[in-house]
């Protein structure tokens, strides 16, 4: 059956009797999966574990495609950054930095000075490792989505939500320690300064939901932005690529479509490369901004 039709990606061709299903192809590439496809080897079925109960919730911790990508990104990040760090440290103070280590160093210095120092301000040093790790880890995950047989873990809401949760918790906890219990409570139960008596409590009753909503909206937007950007990019790329197979049985049109798709996908991949960096940067930037806002709340 498969031999009769085009060599379609994944198992779609077999499942649908040779007829190409664009939606299925998109889902196959973008959604999480229990199998991981590798070159030559084909689809590898990942182990299935029984769900574990965490805080009363049944959580399925079975490794999936996105877990594999997540770990791969972590390993790549660790190895790259460790190597760069070693190189820079080994260079000493007398020699000018160069190569990949210098590129990473330049980004590190930029993030440290123009993000952390700028937006968090006094005592920013404690947050530098967090912001740097967020940036490089997200960047690695984003870039893995542009590699053949790869995929973006950041195109999964569960991943971006967890990262946003990290920012949220760090923001609130750091804010709590910085502002003290009383100062921190003011960021939740807020009344404009100068209000007295009944007006004060009325304002508090009005403003408190707004304040709480503000706290929740920030990480939510953070998670959604990254997820939506990565997903949209991949949807676009795979839709354009899918057209080639979708119209594969047209006598003449398929050549135009294939050529057009090829050109568009090439251009959009370049754009995606930029977006991968921009989104990682924005996540790191907004994390720094949120932490900084909380640090300077009065």
């Amino acid at each position: 059956m498969r031999g009769a039709s085009l060599p379609l990606p994944g198992a779609t061709a077999q499942e649908h009797g040779g007829e190409f299903d664009l939606g299925e192809m998109l889902a196959h590439h973008i959604l999480n999966s229990n199998t991981y496809e590798l070159p030559l080897i084909g689809a590898v079925r990942l182990p299935q574990w029984d769900p574990v109960a965490i805080a009363g919730l049944q959580v399925d911790l079975s490794p999936t495609k996105h877990v594999v990508l997540l770990l791969l990104a972590a390993v790549i990040t660790f190895v790259t950054i460790l190597g760069a760090s070693r190189t820079v440290a080994a260079q000493g103070v007398d020699r000018a930095p160069k190569g990949l280590a210098n590129a990473i160093e330049a980004i590190v210095v930029f993030l440290r000075d123009d993000l952390c120092k700028e937006y968090i301000g006094h005592g920013y040093q404690r947050f530098v490792p967090l912001i740097l790790t967020l940036f490089f880890f997200i960047l690695a995950m984003n870039l893995l989505g542009l590699v053949p047989w790869g995929g973006s873990a950041t195109g999964n809401l569960a991943v971006t939500a967890a990262l946003a949760l990290v920012t949220f918790v760090v923001t609130e906890v750091a804010g709590f320690f910085k502002l003290g219990p009383k100062g921190y409570l003011k960021t939740i139960f807020f009344a404009p300064p100068g209000t007295e008596g009944a007006v004060k409590y009325l304002m508090m009753a009005l403003m408190t939901p707004v304040e709480i909503l503000g706290k929740i909206v920030k990480p939510f937007a953070l998670a959604m932005r990254l997820f939506a950007n990565m997903t949209a990019g991949h949807l676009l790329i795979f839709s354009l690529l899918g057209f080639i197979f979708f119209f594969g049985d047209l006598a003449l049109g398929r050549w135009f479509i294939a050529g057009g798709s090829y050109i568009f996908v090439s251009a959009i991949l370049v754009l995606e490369l930029l977006i991968a960096m921009i989104q990682a940067y924005i996540f790191a930037l907004l994390s720094a901004v949120f932490i900084g806002l909380m640090q300077h709340e009065h």
Binding site: G23, E24, V88, A89, A158, T231, F246, L250, I257
Partner: protein, 200 residues
């Protein structure tokens, strides 16, 4: 060719319309896109936490230390360069000062020596003038003396000549009243001029 494109159009719209529902029906499909798999979130937190801990310990800390060390090194180099520049400027100013001082001193020395030379010249000139005056005065005195001596000599000679002439005359014609009178007149004449102090 037209039919090919027409078919392309219809198929495309069919794909867009059909793609989402067709997969949504099977195995949860696209609804899975917005459902959060908590297991994956747990994986993410664990992975990120581990990565953050490892990087913070083994990468960021030494990297930051190296960057700080380099920053300090560069800063100290800049400071050192600044100090060197200040020092050089101070040195330059000092040299300028010294050169100006030297020039001033040289000029003073030149002026002084010129003055001394002038003084010396004036003194020499004065001395020379004095000497010349002395010489001239001496010469004048000498000349006067010589002249006086010459006059005396001349008078003596004249007397001698007169005496000789007179003796010759006396020998020849010491007769006649006229000769006698002539000699007498001459002697008178001599005695008249002798009253002028010629015989002293």
């Amino acid at each position: 060719m037209t039919s090919a494109f027409f078919e392309t159009g219809t198929r495309l719209s069919a794909a867009v319309a059909g793609a989402l529902p067709s997969t949504a029906a099977e195995e949860g499909g696209w609804s899975r896109l917005f459902s959060v798999e908590w297991g994956l979130s747990v994986w993410t937190l664990l992975t990120f936490g581990t990565l953050l801990a490892l990087l913070a310990r083994y990468a960021w800390k030494p990297l930051m230390a190296a960057l700080d060390a380099r920053e300090r090194s560069i800063q100290s180099d800049i400071d050192e360069a600044g100090r060197q520049r200040d020092k050089a400027e101070a040195l330059l100013a000092e040299h300028r000062e010294q050169m100006a001082e030297g020039r001033r001193r040289a000029q003073a020395l030149i002026a002084e020596s010129r003055e001394a030379a002038e003084e010396l010249r004036r003194q020499l000139e004065e001395k020379a003038r004095e000497e010349s005056r002395t010489i001239i005065a001496n010469a004048r005195r000498e000349i006067e003396r010589e002249r006086d001596a010459a006059i005396v000599q001349l008078r003596r000679e004249a007397v001698e000549v007169a005496m000789a002439a007179a003796s010759r005359l006396l020998e020849e014609r010491i007769d006649g009243e006229r000769d006698r009178r002539l000699v007498m007149d001459y002697i008178d004449e001599l005695s008249v001029s002798g009253e002028g102090g010629a015989w002293q």
